[in-house]
């Protein structure tokens, strides 16, 4: 298949892996920020192709995984309100909150519908005038512009029964937060591909400047990731950390200015609660005052029981890169995709799910 097969070429991949082994002299610890990268690394068995002194850690780049329990509890409470239709991306359905999940709420009678974009949600609002349609806005910079566009459309068309439960989060602040925690000593970061198509490179310049860590933006195919690892290893060996793009077919240095403007118009930054990391300043998006009418946070009052964290689940540590799923006592034993204890096992981009689905020959 064109534009895919070229980036999975086995011959080139083996050559790149050999090149990496050849140039890499020092131990290197790399974090792939994105869940999509974790999946591709596991699915293609890329770690088996790298020398053992290159360590790969998974980061917090899975929007479902980093959603705090309190936010999930609130979603479920919203779903239980009368005359409310919840519209959500499919990944959220089985994510456990403190006491329940959306799938359970749906079985108990809540009207919860899976959509593929916020556009589907606004269509459902048009077809159900007597009900309030709430879209669960989960995602990073990649998703935010489309939700912004939908909100603009809702405002222009004066839609009265459409709301967004906005849990959008931003990547550069959380990368800073993870680095500031200082728990994990990194030599390089495999930067998010699709997020960076929107942000461009500027928001990451602080990483080499302030932390002396290289940051290379990567695509999601096997060659993309090997190319990125090769560029990071070159930086590490020369001790010249920098922001660079290995995903030039998708990312321009300036990002997508139109999308950024749209986000600026519709959202304001606020602090956000990240699972495993806590409150990170200016790392979340809320609806700007002009769009307050569409804000499910203020439009609906719900009672939520005090948050309860799941005992034994180490999703938080996995998200921060200080533990791997294999180190979790629940992994594969109690926690499986059939019976997920933490969100990292639910989301298709979660580390635990990727390790479970694509565990290498030894695991």
């Amino acid at each position: 298949m064109k534009f895919i097969d070229e980036y999975r070429d086995a011959g080139l991949g083996k050559k790149l892996a050999e090149h990496i082994s050849h140039i890499s002299k020092h131990p290197a610890r790399l974090m792939e920020f994105c869940g999509g990268h974790t999946v591709s690394i596991m699915r293609n068995g890329l770690r088996q192709l790298l020398p053992p002194h290159i360590e790969m850690l998974s980061g917090p780049g899975c929007p479902v995984c980093v959603t705090a329990n309190s936010d999930i509890d609130r979603m479920i409470a919203l779903a239980q309100l009368p005359d409310v239709i919840i519209t959500t991306f499919g990944d959220m359905i089985k994510v456990p909150g403190s006491y329940s999940n959306l799938s359970q709420a749906r079985a108990e009678g809540a009207d919860i519908r899976i959509v593929y974009s916020s556009q589907d949600a606004i269509k459902i609002a048009g077809e159900n005038k007597g009900k309030s349609v709430i879209f669960i806005g989960i995602g990073f910079e990649t998703t935010a512009p489309t939700i912004a566009a939908t909100l603009l459309q809702a405002k222009q068309k004066n839609v009265k029964n459409f709301y967004v439960h906005c849990l959008l989060k931003l990547c550069p602040p959380v990368i800073k937060a993870v680095l500031d925690l200082g728990e994990v000593k990194l030599n390089g970061i495999i930067g998010p591909g699709h997020v960076s198509t929107i942000t461009g490179t500027a928001p990451y310049e602080f990483i080499p400047r302030d932390y002396r860590i290289g940051f290379v933006i990567s695509g999601f195919e096997s060659l993309d990731i090997l190319q990125t690892v090769s560029m990071l290893i070159e930086q590490i060996e020369k001790d010249e950390p920098a922001v660079d793009i290995a995903y030039s077919r998708g990312v321009r240095p300036e990002g997508n200015p139109m999308a950024l403007q749209l986000m600026d118009k519709v959202f304001d930054k606020e602090s956000a609660d990240w699972r495993g990391i806590g409150i990170v300043p200016a790392s979340g998006l809320k609806l700007a005052p002009e769009f307050a009418d569409f804000d499910a946070m203020s439009a609906f009052e719900v009672k939520v029981e005090p948050v309860k964290e799941t005992k034994g689940c180490i999703c938080g540590e996995i998200i921060r890169g200080i533990a791997t799923p294999h180190q979790c006592p629940l992994f594969r034993k109690v926690c499986t995709p059939e019976n997920p204890i933490g969100p990292c096992m639910v989301s298709s981009e979660g580390s635990c799910s990727a390790y479970y689905m694509y565990g290498d020959d030894n695991g």
């Binding site: 293609n44 088996q48 192709l49 593929y116 499986t336 290498d360």
Partner: protein
């Protein structure tokens, strides 16, 4: 007669008699069915295979097939995978009131065409009509009886170390074809369901070799789930090669977009065969000569080690475990 099925069509009245006569018995006519006794009575001697399945696919018409063709193929294929020659089917319809008669006729015609293709007969049946909302348009159950020839011993527990694994063609076509019509997918996928009766293909394979150990159709849960079932039933290891498994571009494209793995997508016209290594090329050649096996390929082999596990060798030469499908990828695909 009106244009839709109504409750009275299932009441046992003249109306239901007319529906059965005109819309079912006429198109599906054969001597055993025409007798209209409470049971079909027939004479068969030998080792028999008997199977049943219910079909609830939504939508009832999809690219490359419909619920009628599926209801015949699913049961014919289950018999074929036991090495049986399918002989007779039962056909039970549960119809939601309001189903357009035109749709019923299309489905029954599809059953007729598919049974003719497979060389089998529907010899007994039942029709019920239920209130709106009690079923979704139409649900179908078929049961089938087939005859197993002497010397044929095919079972999921017969795989042996050294066996070659042959797949009859590309994977994922049925699941993606059905998915492409579901609400919310407003993109077109150039994919047709592979829904097909495989008894002819299996007959050709059995003629080519007496050393076929396992046959299985990778339906719900896809190839990955089927291989895991066999690895555990036979207590052997299975090793397959990513670059040998045929996947059509349309399926690959849709899977890329939606984050699915073709290994887990359902098929309705494919078989995976475990064959003694010496006979593998012979069986492969026989399959390639059949219309439903043109794209057949040897995709892997059975190993002594890693019992109960399925290992995939990636294009880059790494290996990873393949598990069964977990959770529900997509409800009501068959």
């Amino acid at each position: 007669m009106g244009k839709t099925v109504i409750l009275a069509h299932g009441s046992g009245s003249k109306l239901s008699h007319d529906l059965v006569e005109k819309n079912l018995l006429q198109p599906l006519h054969n001597d055993l069915l025409a007798k209209l006794d409470d049971s079909a009575v027939f004479d068969v001697r030998g080792k028999l295979a008997f199977t049943t399945d219910s079909y609830v696919v939504s939508p009832i018409f999809f690219p490359g097939g419909d619920i009628g063709r599926l209801a015949v193929c699913g049961t014919v294929n289950d018999l074929s995978m036991s090495g049986a020659v399918p002989l007779y089917l039962s056909l039970a319809l549960i119809i939601e009131e309001g189903l357009p008669l035109e749709d019923l006729d299309k489905i029954v015609n599809s059953i007729k065409v598919t049974t003719e293709e497979a060389g089998i007969q529907v010899i007994t049946g039942d029709t019920k009509v239920v209130n709106k909302g009690s079923v979704d348009k139409i649900f179908i159950n078929t049961a089938g009886i087939g005859l197993i020839s002497d010397g044929v011993d095919i079972s999921g527990s017969n795989a042996k170390a050294g066996d070659k694994i042959i797949l009859s063609g590309s994977i994922g076509d049925h699941g993606i074809a059905v998915l492409s019509l579901r609400e919310g997918f407003d993109f077109k996928v150039p994919v047709q369901s592979d829904c097909a009766p495989l008894n002819g293909l299996v007959a050709d394979m059995l003629e080519a070799s007496k050393n076929i150990h396992v046959l299985r159709d990778p339906t719900r849960g896809g190839l990955a789930t089927t291989l895991n079932e066999i690895a555990s039933q036979s207590d052997v290891g299975i090793s397959i090669f990513e670059d040998k498994v045929p996947v059509h571009d349309g399926v690959r494209g849709a899977c890329e977009l939606l984050g699915f793995d073709p290994l887990y997508i359902a098929n309705e016209g494919k078989t995976v065969a475990f064959v003694a290594a010496d006979d593998a090329e012979k069986v492969l050649a026989a399959m390639k000569n059949n219309n439903y096996g043109k794209e057949a390929a040897i995709i892997g082999e059975v190993t002594e080690s890693r019992k109960g596990k399925v290992v995939l060798k990636t294009r880059l030469g790494a290996s990873r475990m393949i598990d069964m499908l977990t959770g529900e990828l997509l409800p009501r695909i068959c």
